[in-house]
């Protein structure tokens, strides 16, 4: 697994190729326990390659828990136990000998509250590539920082103050910086846990545009509480309820013609 990922690192210069089935990640009978409370029950979900998958559901249903399984951030949660399999490009990332460091280079994450490092804007973007030794050359690093900041539409706003601390930006800019930071390590998958919930509508619209832009090159999993947002940005949607997936599939299908009553109620705003 480690070797494979290393070998692949060379290959994935810009776009990670999708496999024949067009499935980037896949969970099999994934269950998660906090102490002895089960938070997720036998989740089976396929995440399509270079598409946007939205996770929706009421608070506390286990969306964040599920997302943290995809890059093994649950390792940092005390008393958290995971059973089942999560496959990235066919490899089970919960095998014992998996290097979680390399995994997290492949699967980036954006958090609910913008959390840029209190270092310079430049350092925020350059940090990931540096620690993964993706680039050792200063000029190339400069180029990568510029390219990444352009990609998230931040370059024009910050080009003249790259040395300013990332925390000095506005909330929306900070979140775009965090996205830039996550994609600078050239991941295959980007996880976003309610990336817009702390932002105003205009900043939210910009992030949504950005997601539409990024989906061409990255597989994106996004948690959102806004039904409109899920409908606008995603291709696939999974509806979670009390640790179970009630319904998953094509976004249009889920929003227009849900199979389950609960899905219908949730989307219609009857609970949640």
């Amino acid at each position: 697994m480690v070797k494979n990922m290393n070998a692949e690192k060379k290959k994935t210069e810009d776009i990670a190729e999708c496999g024949p089935e067009n499935i980037r990640m896949k969970t099999q009978n994934l269950s998660v326990f906090y102490n002895n409370d089960q938070a997720l029950h036998d989740i089976n979900l396929d995440i399509a390659c270079n598409k946007v998958t939205a996770l929706i559901g009421p608070s506390g249903c286990g969306k964040s828990t599920f997302m943290r399984c995809l890059n093994r951030m649950n390792d940092y949660v005390e008393n958290c136990r995971v059973t089942g399999k999560v496959r990235l490009d066919g490899f089970n990332i919960y095998k014992d000998n998996v290097d979680t460091i390399l995994l997290r280079q492949k699967v980036g994450m954006v958090f609910q509250k913008p959390n840029p490092f209190p270092k310079s804007i430049y350092e925020n973007v350059a940090y990931g590539p540096k620690i993964h030794h993706l680039i050792d050359n200063k000029d190339e690093l400069d180029a990568l920082v510029e390219k990444t900041l352009r990609r998230v539409g931040l370059w024009d706003e910050v080009a003249d103050r790259l040395a300013a601390p990332g925390t000095s930006l506005s909330g929306g800019q900070q979140q775009r910086l965090c996205i830039a930071r996550a994609i600078a390590t050239k991941p295959e998958v980007v996880l976003m846990d309610e990336p817009c919930s702390a932002l105003d509508p205009i900043a939210t619209a910009r992030i949504e545009e950005l997601i539409a832009e990024l989906e061409k090159k990255f597989t994106i999993v996004i948690i959102t509480h806004s039904m409109q947002q899920a409908e606008r940005v995603s291709h696939h949607t999974a509806f979670f309820h009390m640790g179970h997936i009630i319904e998953a599939g094509d976004t249009q299908k889920i929003f227009n013609d849900p199979e389950h009553q609960k899905t219908k109620d949730y989307i219609g705003g009857k609970f949640g």
């Binding site: 840029p116 209190p118 940090y127 996550a182």
Partner: protein, 438 residues
């Protein structure tokens, strides 16, 4: 009880009243009509006034302390000198009899004194260090031999105090100053053969039996050497302990146990650490007594728990979301700590460390236990030389009843307090300049 009940009902009634007519304040006058409002305002005023009085009292204490030290000590920063017509006779210089030269010039200034006791009084006008000063002059300019020159010589401590502070009665009564000495000094002052000069000796000398020669250089250097050892030992150890406990150790009964012990250690009286140092460093390891090395090691034990606690607080102040952000980028736990958490906590850590240095700087009791209370005239050259520190020097001088040492004590306290203020200013500067607001 009944009163309380009454009050409750009254308050309740007010509530009811307010509910009935949601009353709008017609005027914002300071004297409202309603009793509960008046009461509330009075309460606010009372609280403010009490706070102000408390601050005033604290300030008065501080001011009287500073005033007391300053008024006792400022005169130690000047030195009284007497101008003498000195004849550098080659014969006497050859015999190294500089004392005689001084005595001759004093006799030349006040001729006709025969009585032995009178002579002794005359000779004790100048510092006992005077012969050394003449020797230094000759060594620097040998061409002065067999010439006559006017030389300013430091006065002895008793004369100096008398001249500076005009404490006639006190000085006379203590038998330190004879009537003829008073007459001579008055005469010298009248003829402008006495003056006050900035007392460089206070900053250039170590301790001395003669108050006019005693200075703070040796003890200040001793303090700095001790603090250096202390920081070199406590800083890495304390920060490493805190990082381990805060960032790496899994919570268990063992880490809880360590945590409780560290917190308790911070409350242990400092003299206990001195005893510990005495029995371990001196008696078991056989390290040199009275040395700044052992002093620093003892003080390191003393501030170690403080540094651990300050560092842990600073690390805790870094929000977990930053750690997750770094970890989600693929930073290893060690990288998370050394690239992020520790860096962002550093201003807080430095503030804590500097404040604990200030504490170590002013510490006396544990150093007494390991023999740093010795008489140190020379600046320590190595970390194993006998040394003393500023607060211990203050303690030593304060035990000396001589008037000259009273002013030295106050002056040494002023030097000590100056260092304290500087250290605290540094801590404030670092906090203002580098602290990260989350």
């Amino acid at each position: 009880m009944i009163k309380l009940f009454e009050r409750r009902t009254r308050i309740a009634m007010h509530r009811v009243k307010r509910k009935k007519s949601p009353f709008i304040y017609k005027s914002y006058s300071k004297k409202p009509k309603h009793r509960w409002l008046r009461k509330r305002n009075a309460q606010e005023r009372r609280f403010k006034r009490t706070g102000f009085i408390a601050i005033l009292i604290a300030f008065l204490f501080l001011a009287s302390l500073v005033w007391n030290i300053f008024s006792n000590g400022y005169s130690a920063f000047t030195e009284t000198q007497i101008q003498l017509p000195v004849t550098f006779e080659a014969e006497l210089i050859e015999k190294d009899a500089y004392r005689t030269i001084i005595q001759n010039s004093l006799l030349e200034l006040f001729p006709g004194i025969e009585d032995r006791k009178e002579k002794r009084d005359l000779f004790s006008l100048v510092s006992r260090n005077a012969p050394h000063i003449l020797k230094d002059i000759i060594e620097e300019n040998p061409e002065a031999i067999d010439r006559k020159a006017m030389v300013w010589i430091p006065a002895s401590s008793a004369i100096s105090i008398f001249y500076k502070q005009h404490v006639h009665e006190q000085a006379k009564r203590s038998g330190k100053i004879s009537p003829s000495q008073v007459a001579w000094v008055t005469d010298l002052a009248r003829t402008k053969n006495m003056r006050l000069k900035f007392n460089w000796a206070f900053f250039k000398n170590g301790d001395s039996r003669e108050a006019e020669q005693a200075g703070v250089l040796a003890s200040t250097m001793g303090s700095f050497m001790t603090i250096l050892i202390c920081v070199l030992m406590a800083f890495p150890l304390g920060v490493a302990t805190a990082i381990y406990l805060e960032e790496f150790a899994r919570k268990s009964w063992f880490t809880d146990f360590i945590e409780i012990n560290i917190n308790n250690l911070a409350a242990v009286p400092s003299i206990i650490f001195g005893l510990l140092g005495l029995s371990i460093y001196l008696n078991i390891f056989g390290l040199p007594r009275s040395s700044s090395l052992v002093g620093g090691m003892v003080l390191a034990l003393l501030i170690l728990p403080v540094i651990v606690i300050a560092t842990r607080n600073a690390l805790q102040a870094v929000p977990p979301s930053i750690r997750y952000a770094a970890a989600a980028l693929g930073a290893t736990p060690t990288q998370v700590v050394f690239h992020h958490t520790l860096i962002y906590a550093l201003p807080g850590i430095m503030t804590g460390v500097i404040l604990s240095i200030a504490r170590a700087f002013g510490e006396t009791a544990p150093l007494l236990m390991i023999g740093m209370v010795a008489f140190i005239a020379d600046v320590p050259k190595t970390f194993t030389d006998p040394a003393t520190t500023l607060p211990v020097q203050v303690y030593l001088w304060a035990n000396n009843p001589e008037l000259g040492f009273v002013e030295k004590t106050a002056a040494a306290i002023m030097v000590l307090l100056t260092f304290m203020v500087l250290i605290n200013l540094l801590a404030i500067y670092i906090r203002r300049r580098f602290e990260i607001k989350w």
